[in-house]
Structures are given as C-alpha cells and as structure tokens.
Amino acid sequence: MATHAAHAEHAHAPQAFIWKYVFSKDHKVIGIQYYVTAMLMALVAGLLAMLIRVQLAWPEKDYTWLGKIFPMGYDVGGGFGVMRPEFYAMLFTMHGTIMVFFVLSTAPVSGFGNLLIPLQVGARDMAFPFLNGLSYWTFLPGCLVILASFFVESGAAAGGWTSYPPLSALKGAVPGSGTGQTMWIIGMVFFIASFTMGGLNFVTTILNLRTKGLSMFRLPLTMWAMFLVAILGLLAFPALVAACIMLVFDRHYGTSFFIPAQIALNNVPLLTQAGTPLHQGGSPLLWQHLFWFLGHPEVYILMLPALGFTSDILSTFSRRPIFGYKSMVLAMCGIGFLSFIVWGHHMFVSGMSPYLGMAFAVGTILIAVPSAVKVFNWLATLYRSRIRFTTPMLWAMGVISLFISGGLSGVWLAQAGPDIHLHDTMFVAAHFHLIMAGAALFGVFGATAYWFPKMFGRLMSEPLGKVHFWFTFITYYGTFFPMHYIGIAGHMRRIYDPYQYEFLKPLQPINELITMSALILGASQIIFFVNFFWSAFKGKKAGENPWEANGLEWTTQSPPPHGNWPGEIPEVHRWPYEYSNPDAPRDHVMQHEPAGAAAGH
C-alpha cells in the first residue's frame, strides 16, 4: 500500500546531522542551501556595486583606506588612493557575473524551485534526489572559485559579464585576462553543470511526478515558470558551453576560434617567430552570437520565476482567481519561445546586415505582446478586488511596477536606430537593472516572505518586511531611474572615470545623487538579513496555511516533514486559484478539497 510505503519512507529519513542537513537529498534542505548560498553571494555582489557607485560619484577622492583592503585595486603606492581602471573593470565584471548567474539564476530557480516543486505538484521529493544533492555540491565549488578569483595575483576577470574576446581570449590582454578569466570559466562550468542537473530534475518531476488529478493546466503558475525556466536553461546553456570549450582552446592551446589575424597587444602585433600571424581566421563575433544565444534566454531565466511568484501572490492577496490563467501560460510559453530568436538585439552595433537587424528588432518588439498580456491580466486580477497589503503582496506589486517601467525602455532599445545611440550607455544599465535585476530581485523577496513558513515554519516580521520594502522600492527607483537620463546624455557604461570627458562633467551631481540612493539601497538590505535570521528562529509560528491560500504546499505542516505529507499525498480536484467563489462556503477552496466543497469547477 502506498501509505505503508510512505510511512516506511519516513522511518528511513536520515538521522545524522551531516546526512540530514549537509549532504542531504531532501529537496527542501537543498532548496534552502541554494537560497542561503545565493543570498550570501548577493551580499558580495552588492558590496561590489557599492564600490562601483562610490567610484562613479567621486572618482578623484582619496581611497587609501579601501586600498588597504584591496591592495591591487588602488594606486596607494603612488601616494593617492585612486582606483585603477582595470580594478573597476573587475568590479563590474564580477558584480554582473555573480548577480546574474550565482544570485538571480540561483535563488529563485534552484532555491525556490527545489523547495516548491515537490510541494506544489504533490510529490515526496524530486525525481532523482541524488542528482539534486549533487547539483548543489557542484554549485558551491563554482561559487568558491568565483570568489577566490579576486585574490589571485592579477585579479579577477575583467572582460564584463559577457566576457567578450579578445579580452577573454588573450591571456595578456588586461590583468584580469590571465588567471582571473580562467577561474571565471571554471566557475561558469561548475554553475552550468549544476544548473543542468537541476533542470533535468525540474522537468521530469513536473511532468512525471504530479499527484492524482493534477493536470498541467491545474498547475500553479509558479510551476509553469519553473518548468519553462528549466527548459530554457537546458536549451540555452549548451551554446555557452560550446563557446567556453572553444575559448579554452584559444586561451590554452593556441587555436584561434575567436582571435582574428590582425590583432595586436599594446600595439605589438601578435606574430610567430617566423613573422606570420600567431592567430588566424577567428572571429570575436562568433563569441557574441554564441554568448547571446544563451544570454537572452538567460534574462528570462531570471525573470520567469518572478512572474510566476507574482501571479500566485497576487491571486492570494487580492482574493481573486488569477485573470486569464491559460493566457498567462501561453504568454510565458510565447516569451520563452521568442527569447531564442532575438539574441541579435545585443549586437546591433556589431555591423550586422540592416535586414538581419530589422528581423531581430521585429522579434524583440513581438515579445512586448505576451509581456503586455501578463501585465493586463495582473491588473485585471487586481481590479476592484479587496487587497490584503501584506509584505509579499507589496513585493509582487513592486515586480509589476518594475516590469512596466523596464519594459518601456526595452521598446526603445529593441530598435536598431535608437539602440545605436543608446548602446553601451547607462541607459542600458538602467533598463536591465529595472526589468531583469529589479523584477527578479523583488520576486525573490516576495517569495521569501510568502513561502517562509514552508522553509522554517515561521512567518517573517511584517513591520520589518514593510520597512524593507519601502526603502528598497524608493531607493531602487532613485538609483536606476536617473541612469536613463545620464545615459541619453552620453554617459557610457563600464567607464571608471566619466569626468575625463569634458561633456560628462556636468553629470557629476546626478551621479552623486544616484550613489547616495544606491548606498541607502545597499544599507536597507541589512533590514532584510536581520528580519530573515530573526524570523527563522524567533518569528511567529505559522500554521499550515497562514495566508489562506489554495496550493498543495499549504495542505501540509510548516515546515513539511521529510516526505512532505505525514500521511497520503492529497489528491487534486481543481486549479489553485479558487478564491471568492460566491457558491463556496468559504472565500477560498483549496486544491485538494473534494468537489462538494465548491459548487461548479
């Protein structure tokens, strides 16, 4: 009997600390491990952002005290504590790499995905728990390698998070192109391997391990997001792996996949002893194509989970069924599909054929359609509802706000004409920080507050959560909105001292304002960490279903026991958005309640 087997399974839950909490195969423990690791990485990457911002506001100041911490970063010996340009390049490279891959591809996907998938589809664990555990223990070394790269002699990688050759392909190009770039590649390979293992588990668990009655169109939208994200990752990352393989051959075995013949280092052409070019026939553009074939789907790997969380949270706290469930699913599928055919919009200035550029531009604009469908569905869900303004709800509305503001600037950048002016300016930094970084980050904060009970059995503090939200919301816009303006004014990105140009000097006050805002933004994250740890140990105990929500995860204890349900796994009778049905006795009907509980459906 299934029940017996389930109970037997319980008896077998590992007892020793190391198997229970360290090398665990339990999806909840792995999810929390992923989440906590990613948030610690966020702390590092956030501090790097602070250094970047301080530099952009006051590049001429004396930072001798910072030079004591980062001896390779500041010209302390020369009498001044002025930042070295190459150190600035290392800062934004590592900031971007860590944030994109090790924080926001990890906390929402590997963190909440692992935590939620078995709980929301009604399974005792992921399909292949061993592979799942292995995936975390592959991820962690990746993090350590990336962090360690700051401490090697020539410093961390400095070719941007996109690692364009020749900066990444020639070991001697800039200091970070040596050991730092090698460690970047190693870290990324670890990351991709772990993401692939996780993705295989995600897809098979969602397809094959759903409980009785849970058809695909009864899945919470978060599950649809996880499903699509895993597929996106599995289809897109191989391109980067292929590129990295060629890059390693270029760097270490003398091939020239990405290096053309006419290349010079410090004005000295690279020649063999015979006087022929050392490299021949390669093309840096090949890297750009392969990288962005991954890179664009990657931004949706960041975004989609946040969109899923937002839908679920919105429905719960507006006590309304999500508007247009099927169109939401289709919109996400459409976004996922389109994300594979628009990568060229990152390369408008690479000299591509204008006809090709036009095709990429049209494809990109098309993404606005499913995106708008999502926004209008959210607004329709909210329309005339009685909203419960809890912390998760605030974050969800923040996601919508950022998704709209960031989406609007996306329409500018999608077209080749305007993009030629705006490319590589702070306008782009503003755009992607709002839509990709911001929406994903807010999604993670919302999901943390919402599913905290299923992590630690307690609720996060509401007052602290709200203070954290408002500080973050206001300073986030304060930091990134003015960047549009300085971008249009010509302030390029990835530049360590903009004021070396006369025409950028008037922008210094705005940069100071942005930096002030960024510093407050950074400082307010302390509230989150305090709230997180305090609530994990001292927070109010949450019952099974503190938010009166409908999903399967709310039918078991908080936190769920090993095996997720003490008894049998519940059967599903409806979708998870049955709120305010006038025919039902309560204002919500849970997925597992038998048909009698709700008339209709």
């Binding site: 037997a8 077998h12 399974a123 391990l209 075995y253 996949f257």
Partner: protein
C-alpha cells in the same frame, strides 16, 4: 535511505493517468539530456560553419585531405553498431537475455572499431602535419593550403565526438556487465541504447557537414 525504495514510493503516487509520452521519468530525463547534449554539438557545428563562411582563404577539398571511402567505412561501422544496439534493446524488452547480451557485445565491438579507425585517422593526419593550431609550416597539409580553422575544427569536432563515443562505450560496458548479472532491467538497456543512437546520429551530422559538404 535507499534510492530505489524512494523511487518506488514516488512512482506509486503518480496517478494522474498514463505517464506523459508513455515514458518513465528516467527515460524522459535521458531524452532531455540528449537534447541538451545535441545542442552542445550544434553550438560547435554552428561555430565551425560561421568561421568557414568567414574564412578568407579558400576551403580545401576534403577529398584531397581525407580518404573519404575510409571515413565512409567508419560511418558504416557506427551505423551498424546502432542496428545491433536496436536488436539488443528489442531482445532485452522481450526478455531474451542471451541475445541481448550478444548484441550488446557486438555493439561494443563496433564502437571499439570506430575508435580504432579514428585513432588511425588522427595519427595519419598528424603525420601529414596537422596540428591543433593549423598545418605545420612546410608539411604536406600546408602545401595543400589548409587554413588553421580547418584543423582546429577538425580536432575539436571529431575529438569531442570521440570522447562521446568513449563515454558511450563505458556506459555500454557497464550495462553489459549489469545485464549479465541480471542487475539492470530492460529499461537500463533502453537508456544506454538511446545514448548510443544519439552518438551515432551526431556522427552522421559531422560526416555530412565536415567531410562531405
């Protein structure tokens, strides 16, 4: 905790109807992995195509650099091993223990022959002056005007495929041993078979795109 036991528990709970695509999660996982791996090869092949398109020097005639009949023989060996693999899977499904074992062994032999041919081909080309970074100055190949991209793509593509054949062989050998000890169900043979077919299919692409076109 026993994974087998746990898997059984979880499968007992799948009650949503027939499994999607009629496949267990193990097989689904194998399929998805194969798609991922296929995309990795597509990445490399697209890279090769891109650089070949962009090459300034004329592309050498493959029939002058390689012995195409020999490569065709390699291809033939590999496709035959795919057929014997198919027989092994059918036999395993029908419970014909001995036939499955024999067919697996023949498949492994075919794979080894292929690798042997490849080793021969590599050493032959290296002898003619092919190096990872390009043709050795003054060698036969250099005289034929072989551009660096050619040898780079050759070694990386065939080397990467060869390493897949090697891992496929390891999987097949493990499967054969476990099958002989009656430790793996027929699904184990099926999954090994999926991977082997995939490795063979990739070769067909490399053969067409690199040696013929």
């Amino acid at each position: 905790m026993h994974d087998g036991g746990q898997a059984a528990v979880m499968e007992a709970h799948w009650g949503g109807g027939a499994a999607p695509f009629g496949a267990t999660w193990q097989k689904t996982m194998m399929w998805i992995f194969i798609v991922t791996d296929a995309l990795l090869f597509s990445g490399l092949l697209c890279g090769y195509a891109f650089l070949r398109q962009a090459a300034i020097q004329p592309w050498p005639k493959q029939s002058e650099v390689f012995s195409i009949p020999f490569i065709a023989l390699m291809t033939f060996i590999l496709i035959t091993s795919s057929m014997t693999m198919g027989s092994a899977v059918t036999a395993a499904r029908l419970g014909d223990h001995k036939k499955a074992r024999t067919m697996l062994a023949i498949t492994i032999f075919g794979g080894l022959c292929f690798l042997g041919c490849q080793a021969y081909e590599w050493s032959h080309l290296i002898h003619e002056g092919a190096r990872l970074t390009g043709a050795l100055p003054g060698s036969t190949l250099a005289a034929e005007g072989v551009p660096p991209v050619f040898t780079q793509a050759f070694f990386v593509l065939t080397g990467f495929h060869g390493s897949h054949v090697l891992s496929g062989l390891i999987i097949l050998i493990v499967t054969l041993v476990r099958w002989s000890m009656r430790k793996t169900p027929s699904q184990g043979v099926e999954m090994a078979g999926l991977y082997w077919h995939f490795v063979d299919l990739v070769w067909v692409f490399i053969f067409t795109l690199f040696y013929l076109l």
